[in-house]
Symmetry: C2
Amino acid sequence: MIDQLPGLQISKPLLDSLLKEGTVKVLKPNTVIIDENDYIRNVPIVLSGTIKVFKVDEEGREILLYYIKPGESCVMSFLGAMCNGTSKIRAVVEEESKVLILPVTKATELIRSNPAWLEFIFQLYNTRFEELLEVVNAVVFQNMDDRLWELLRKKVTLTRSNEITTTHQQLADELGTAREVVSRLLKQLEKKNKIQLGRNRITVSEL
Amino acid sequence: MIDQLPGLQISKPLLDSLLKEGTVKVLKPNTVIIDENDYIRNVPIVLSGTIKVFKVDEEGREILLYYIKPGESCVMSFLGAMCNGTSKIRAVVEEESKVLILPVTKATELIRSNPAWLEFIFQLYNTRFEELLEVVNAVVFQNMDDRLWELLRKKVTLTRSNEITTTHQQLADELGTAREVVSRLLKQLEKKNKIQLGRNRITVSEL
DNA sequence: TTTGTTGTGTGACTATCGTCACTTTTTACA
DNA sequence: TGTAAAAAGTGACGATAGTCACACAACAAA
């Protein structure tokens, strides 16, 4: 069911019981699963593909927080659900994804009845928290060129392909910077022979 | 027992049952409750005073993430405990604080036995997550002068006094910048009559 | 009172990044 | 095949903030 399991993974028995409670959907790239200020009615669990999660600020600027990988869920949506809140984030499908949609009611019920589910949630919190800390760290102490390079590397690892299909504008949005900046820095990376550039395409040669 | 309850608060009955399980300690300012890479054996719950939580990076640079206020706990420590991990953060006493020290074993037991505790933990996660998102946002999209001003305002609100006792270096550390930068920006704020400067002291005149 | 330590003020310089104002290239499709 | 739209390249410039090198002020302890 889950075709790749980097890092944290959901256990088979837990997954089986979740599948009984929810429905599986296949979602195309760029589908918005959760938008800012959305009321949360479902908890999505990614079975295949990847979802990217953004923080959106008042002026519409955004920054990539982390990826939800197969075997993971969106803890923010879960929290929002538990606390009757609205989403502070935006979740968008990056690669076509199979997603298990679990109604909030079921998700909260399961906390009492299924210890494995609770454990799963906590583990996921831990992961996300640490990832957020990394974002803070990167944004405060790293230069844009390093951040860009790490973003490219992350994409390569995630998709298991060194061909990245994206535009400079998209990368800029993910880093919270301007398109020109990304273009410049990509050119520098190309000069260092770390990547090759093409239209809508970046080929990473050296990790 | 708890002398101020801004925002989220722990319920009386829950607090009572926690008091039976842990011990209360009074901690002086600058006491390090949890340091980076510490193994976590206790979950601290703040009864009075304030604790500040930092992310520390490899080069020793740090940045303030959030404050733990009375009636709150350090979720990171809790997570670390649950997941057998070491701390990614540093928690330091800002104002003298009364802290309830709860052993990890008790904290995990209580999850099964006391629904209010579980609820409390989840609420706290939500708060922290949102605060972290705010940090990311501030750091990416706000200028240093705004961030500094907001930090000062936060300190005033927290201590309920418009006299802040701190050094420029401390503020710089909290913002992840250099002392000179803080000195410069503080001077600008003084020129705008928003603050008065003194040695080890900043008086905020206008909120 | 002297002396050392800690905190603050400041000018000069630099690097990074955001912005503006384009041009050029690539591609879709009318 | 021509034309418009989308993506990318690029130079110039300015603002912000990090760094260096001090001078100076306040305080504490000897």
